[in-house]
Symmetry: C2
Subunit: 293 residues, 2 copies
């Protein structure tokens, strides 16, 4: 087992426990709690909290200080999936092989469970231990910026409006950046803030996260063409049949693979300027590029 | 013109300008900005920001220091109205005589405009001037608590589940407390935090806001029976025809009026323990009890 595999196994579980503990103890209507818990328990790679914790670990600190904001971050991601799946948005019945939130709890409860997860995420950060008030304020400014109108929500609007139209590469990248990139960048920046990184170091972390974010998306598009249906858990070619703009469609398969390699190299270049104690962040970049699901 | 009327006229306008300035300068898709602006411009009493600013003024400080959190607070209220009006929730076509957000922009954009307003509210507070990092963290903890699963969102869930069933008085009060009371209390507490109020003073502010919150709701229920259709802008008796549990239904009209008087007295009692420089908060309590719309 590599260091990264062990790290992921250990902290994925701790982040999941932290999220569930926080939600289960809320004095809220039980159906609301159930709907929140259902989607938090639906699994996933937990890549965002892992990035946050790995950044702290790589700076040589005990990454447990980041468990609460890591849980908050995954709650924000989970809220965005619940709302994206709604009938008026992507209208998805299944996510990771399980019925989507509104299929189980109804639309009203799904919307409200998302609203509550988003709101709780800010509460968790504001109440965390192991951080100064200044660090909490920075974490909240950055999270709200990444998740809000100029970030993730704006990306979802642009995505809805770009559906079924042919996008250019810059348009495609701009949507990805907003819809998923900003929150991935936040994951790493938040780890840097909690590690006391300098402004220059935050900029390098930003560059690293920017490049692995795009690499993640390109790898997704490639897997939709070349992946194993069993491993990725959805039909191959669904992007093509859904008429979605993708990297292979815009650049050809070879071009997409070259672009993937380019972003991997750039991500590692950014890391080379940082005083890191281990190679966790570099291994995460490799994992994103090599993953089969 | 009384001091309160002038205060409301002056600051209502400034809060509205602050909200619109913040949203209009966002580098977000224009349809998203338009949907956010539409509901922010839809009017309303702006009672929450006025309470926040009046509290600061009553403590003798320049209430302009609270403009940003006051704008954030009204954005949270506005998001809650947009989501409450959705077809899967209360399914309202009109609000304050104008088509609801989803009737103009569609459900997806209405949900996302709400999400964005909620998220922006935390960003505004985290970036405000005239507050220490500790004050900002307190404002955010309190806002997320008031607006989240144990507060407003939980209240909306309880309200949806209680529809068409006969509620007891304690059940009715519990729903009002969550759905509208917590955010009204937050309005006053936030003013206290920014005024440097002591813990004991915060408790008195809490008591004041708790009582005016219930008074507001009772007055609403009374106006639904005795009000002037022109003045309140909706048909008289709509609560009865919608089979809603109300104070007059549970206590009789005389009982409801006695209860209203009781909460007014309690609210003023709480104020009597505070070192206030003027009678703004007391006048707001009177206004709530006497209002005709």
């Amino acid at each position: 087992m590599t260091g990264l595999t062990l790290f992921i196994e250990t902290y994925k579980k701790q982040v999941e426990e932290t999220m569930l503990d926080q939600v289960k103890e809320l004095n809220a209507p039980s159906t609301l709690r159930d709907a929140m818990v259902y989607s938090l328990e639906a699994g996933g790679k937990r890549i965002r909290p892992i990035l946050l914790l790995a950044t702290i670990d790589a700076f040589g600190l005990d990454c447990k200080i980041g468990l609460m904001p890591a849980a908050a971050l995954e709650m924000v991601h989970t809220y965005s999936l619940i709302h994206d799946d709604l009938p008026s948005m992507d209208d998805d019945d299944l996510r990771r092989g399980k019925p989507t939130n509104h299929k189980i709890f109804g639309e009203a409860h799904a919307i409200l469970a998302g609203d509550a997860l988003l709101t709780e995420s800010f509460r968790l950060i504001s109440m965390m231990d192991h951080a100064t008030a200044e660090q909490k304020v920075s974490l909240i400014t950055e999270l709200a910026t990444a998740a809000g109108a100029i970030g993730m929500v704006g990306g979802q609007v642009a995505d809805l409006e770009g559906e079924n139209s042919s996008l250019t590469l810059p348009e495609l990248e701009s949507i990805h950046e907003r819809k998923t990139g900003h929150l991935l960048i936040y994951s790493v920046i938040a780890g840097g803030i909690l590690s006391g990184a300098t402004q220059k170091q935050i900029e390098q972390l930003h560059s690293y996260a920017y490049h692995i974010g795009l690499a993640f998306q390109i790898r997704d598009d490639i897997l939709d063409v070349e992946g194993d249906e069993q491993e990725i858990g959805k039909p191959i070619g669904s992007d093509i049949s859904n008429n979605k703009s993708t990297y292979p469609a815009l650049l050809g398969m070879d071009g997409a693979k070259q672009k993937l390699e380019h972003h991997l190299i750039q991500a590692k270049e950014a890391l080379s300027h940082l005083p890191l104690q281990n190679n966790l962040l570099s291994s995460i970049a490799d994992l994103i590029v090599e993953r089969r699901s």
